[in-house]
């Protein structure tokens, strides 16, 4: 984050000086008062200037983009980061020549990067925003695969009259399966076990 330390006769003077030095509007500055100004005798003797630290405020989307750009650079991964920010969501699309590395086995790496980004971006912020990272439409395709899997397994449970326990999945993936089978007339789903090994059970109604 870009910041400067400035002084002035009043707080206002110091803030204006900071805005000029950083070349931004003053409402984009986060101000930390280091020393309150002290008026001297007759306004002349023994007075002390105000001292502040001013930092340029960044949106959470900007913080996210900076974090990922630096992360990918240190991972030696050539990538273009595209960020869309709404009130409660930061949605990121990453593109580049080697996105298979970023996705990893069953999206394992993509999930890890998404998790760490979410932690880092929300750490210093007052508001919480969910971070979702996707590349080459991986999440959408994975969702379609899970929907097909859910339907196939529901059919099997109905036919064999035996319950099926699925592999451990993350909350997002479990949600896809639950909602796919929510209205199924023959089967019911629930989750068992503790994170990160929580798994779905598809059973006969």
């Amino acid at each position: 984050m870009r910041s400067v330390i400035t002084t002035g006769k009043t707080l206002e003077d110091a803030i204006l000086a900071a805005a000029i030095q950083l070349a931004v509007q003053r409402d984009k500055l986060e101000i930390e008062v280091l020393e309150e100004p002290v008026k001297g005798l007759f306004g002349v003797f023994g007075g002390k200037d105000a001292k502040i630290k001013a930092s340029v405020m960044q949106s959470m989307g900007e913080v996210t983009r900076n974090f990922l750009n630096e992360l990918f650079e240190k991972m030696n991964l050539e990538a273009i980061v595209d960020v869309t920010e709404t009130d409660d969501l930061i949605s990121v699309n990453v593109s580049g020549p080697k996105m298979g590395i970023l996705i990893g086995h069953r999206g394992e790496t993509l999930d890890a990067v998404q998790y760490l980004t979410g932690l880092s971006v929300n750490r210093e912020s007052k508001t919480y925003k969910r971070v979702i990272i996707d590349t080459e439409n991986y999440r959408k395709k994975r969702e379609e695969t899970l929907i097909r899997l859910a339907k196939r397994l529901a059919h099997k449970v109905h036919k064999t009259r035996k319950k099926i326990v699925l592999e451990p999945m993350n909350p997002f993936e479990r949600r896809v399966i639950h909602s796919t089978l929510q209205k199924d007339p023959y089967v019911i789903t629930h989750s068992e076990g503790e994170e990160p090994y929580r798994k779905i059970v598809i059973a006969l109604k």
């Binding site: 030696n76 990067v113 998790y115 760490l116 932690l119 750490r123």
Partner: protein, 75 residues
């Protein structure tokens, strides 16, 4: 790899200046040793080691090209 682990750790903890990362070279492996302030241990390990696991997963992805196995140890 040291820089990568250091960057991730510094972005998670409250005392980034106390993050220390060392690379230890062994015959068939590279060990990345991560040290943080005692108060920050939870910030790099997480509930049931979830954060530590995510850090290791990212490092594993970044070290695919290395011919040695790279492991991250939190000390």
């Amino acid at each position: 790899m040291v820089e990568l682990v250091s960057f991730i750790a510094r972005s998670l903890v409250d005392n980034p200046e106390q993050v220390d990362v060392q690379r230890v070279e062994e015959d068939d492996a590279i060990i990345i040793e991560l040290r943080v302030a005692p108060d920050d241990m939870g910030k790099v390990i997480g509930k049931q080691g979830r954060i530590a696991k995510a850090i290791r997963t990212v490092v594993k992805a970044a070290s695919l090209k290395e011919d040695k196995r790279v492991t991250v140890e939190i000390i």
